[in-house]
């Protein structure tokens, strides 16, 4: 340890306890007085603590007559120099950082499903912008399944559903959300969906009118009006084709009836309804011509319709209903409408329909 005398009071003290003011060395007491007088005189001054190069700044170890190396202007013994260059992370900090990494992994794992859903939502929004509504619907359905309160997602699904010609999916999505009540208005999207639903409602009314129409011709007229209101609805295209066949049947134009049914069957050869329709048209041709090839083909179609309807109970029920009528037509060569057949052979069913 080294010492030096204060230039003011002459007291000899350890170097580390002294101060240097404007290149003069003072003890603490004299340094205070000197600083005060310099401040009063508004004079400029430099002040610094005197450093003893033989005392370590950290452990206060004494180098005796030698000097320690300096780091950042302060002397440090070799052990302390090593420790300040390699400051150890405390155990609690290491544990905390490991905890943060675990939490980070957990948050990423936990948030992955949301991240994927949000990414799918953006992709679906992009598809909707590009008018690829049909591709957007399943994507949005999976998003809404995870986020049932996301009103923007539901409205986008409704929009995609309506414009894809899938109003059932659109309606279901909206209804499932508080019975169709939304807490926020979503600007242009809300307006667009509202307007689109108005078209769906009008088309649905016309379809309902078509269902209760007295003749296929009247029903066809209603369905055509519905198509003009809501042309995206795929069901209306199919309904129109079916009703065109119905009109041909009503007009007893069995050649046209057969041609239309052949066309429908070509589009969807596995549809039980199309197979049934084809069987019906062939049975009509057999009834009016007596040509056995029509009968054979009609029976083949009925067989295929039976197989095709097995997977769907609703289709099975339909098949049972029309199978009886077509079988009667083939056996008797008498062509009856459904209403006539029900009146004659299934009066209870006819009464239920009328009620």
């Amino acid at each position: 340890m080294r010492s030096q005398a204060c230039c003011s009071c002459g007291l000899k003290l350890p170097l580390n306890s002294l101060f240097e003011i404007n290149q003069q060395v003072y003890c603490e007491k004299c340094a205070d007085q000197t600083v005060s007088s310099l401040q009063e005189a508004k004079a400029e001054f430099d002040i610094a603590r005197v450093v003893d190069p033989s005392i370590c700044s950290k452990c206060e170890g004494d180098a005796g007559s030698g000097e320690f190396g300096r780091v950042g202007g302060a002397p440090y013994c070799p052990a302390c120099t090593e420790s300040i260059y390699n400051v150890r992370y405390p155990a609690w900090l290491m544990a905390s950082m490991a905890g943060v990494l675990v939490l980070l992994a957990l948050s990423l794992a936990h948030g992955m499903k949301y991240f994927k859903a949000a990414r799918d939502f953006y992709r679906a929004e992009h598809l909707v912008e590009q008018k690829q509504y049909r591709e957007a619907v399943p994507m949005l359905q999976s998003v809404v399944a995870l986020a049932p309160d996301c009103e923007k997602c539901i409205l986008t699904l409704a929009k995609a559903g309506i414009f894809a010609g899938m109003p059932g999916e659109a309606w279901e999505a909206v209804e499932k959300h508080n019975g169709g009540k939304f807490t926020e208005k979503h600007g242009a999207l809300w307006d667009e969906v509202s307007e689109a639903f108005k078209r769906v409602d009008r088309a649905s009314e016309l379809v309902a009118a078509a269902n209760s129409a007295e003749s296929a011709a009247a029903a066809l007229d209603q369905v055509r009006q519905a198509r003009s209101v809501y042309p995206e609805w795929q069901y209306l295209t199919e309904a129109e084709q079916e009703l065109q066949s119905g009109v041909a049947f009503e007009m007893r134009d069995y050649d046209r009836f057969l041609a239309l049914e052949e066309e429908r069957l070509k589009k969807d050869p596995d549809s039980p309804m199309n197979l049934g329709g084809m069987a019906s048209a062939l049975a009509c041709k057999y009834a009016v011509t007596g040509d056995d090839q029509y009968k054979t083909r009609a029976e083949e179609m009925l067989q295929r319709a039976q197989i095709a309807s097995q997977s769907d109970p609703k289709e099975q029920e339909r098949f049972v209903e029309y199978y009886e009528r077509i079988r009667y037509r083939l056996d008797s060569r008498e062509i009856l409408t459904k209403k006539e057949y029900d009146q004659r052979f299934r009066p209870e069913q006819q009464k239920a329909v009328e009620q």
């Binding site: 992370y89 900090l93 991240f115 949000a118 939502f121 309160d149 997602c153």
Partner: protein
């Protein structure tokens, strides 16, 4: 006006991570560390006193390292929070926890004015010598210097929210 120690206490994970990052870069660039405080309930909430250096790369990373680390962690934690809460309206309690953690880290991303001054002092000479890092540091340091003063009007919270919210959204838009 909310007292500083309350804010520090509410965002303590961010303070600790910031100081730990300072220390990490000091060790990487072999700078002596004279004192470390990871967290305290007074101003400053944490500090690392380290050796001065004329190596621009070292001073840049020691000063700015915590900013980049805290910002990155903020974006990652907030991804698990803002996407479900904000984008999908899913009130997931875990998401709220990760949101708090992410924001507390993001709020403590800013380097201190002392750190920025250190970079600013060395940047001109290094920029003249064609040091790309020094040239790139000008706008970053300038913006952060201004934002640092904006802490009185919650610029740090604003920054946390901005990167915590916009970061994941930008990432999602990029991936979709």
């Amino acid at each position: 006006m909310i007292p500083g120690f309350v804010i520090s206490l509410a965002t303590f994970p961010g303070v600790i991570i910031h100081e730990a990052a300072h220390l990490f870069f000091c060790r990487v660039f072999k700078l002596a560390v004279f004192g470390v405080r990871y967290f305290q309930l007074k101003s400053p909430a944490g500090y690392v006193i380290h050796e001065h250096t004329e190596d621009f790369k070292a001073i840049f990373f020691v000063s700015m390292g915590p900013f980049f680390i805290n910002s990155a962690l903020c974006v990652l934690f907030c991804s698990a929070a803002f996407v479900p809460i904000w984008e999908l309206s899913i009130p997931d309690p875990m998401a709220y926890f990760f949101g708090w953690l992410g924001l507390s880290i993001g709020m403590n991303a800013f380097p201190s004015t002392e750190d920025l001054k250190n970079i600013w002092r060395l940047a001109p000479a290094n920029a003249r010598n064609g040091n790309v890092l020094a040239i790139a540091s000008y706008p970053i340091v300038a913006i952060l210097y201004v934002l640092n003063f904006g802490r009185v009007i919650w610029a740090d919270l604003g920054y946390g929210l901005a990167i915590g919210f916009l970061g994941p959204i930008a990432l999602l838009k990029l991936l979709s």
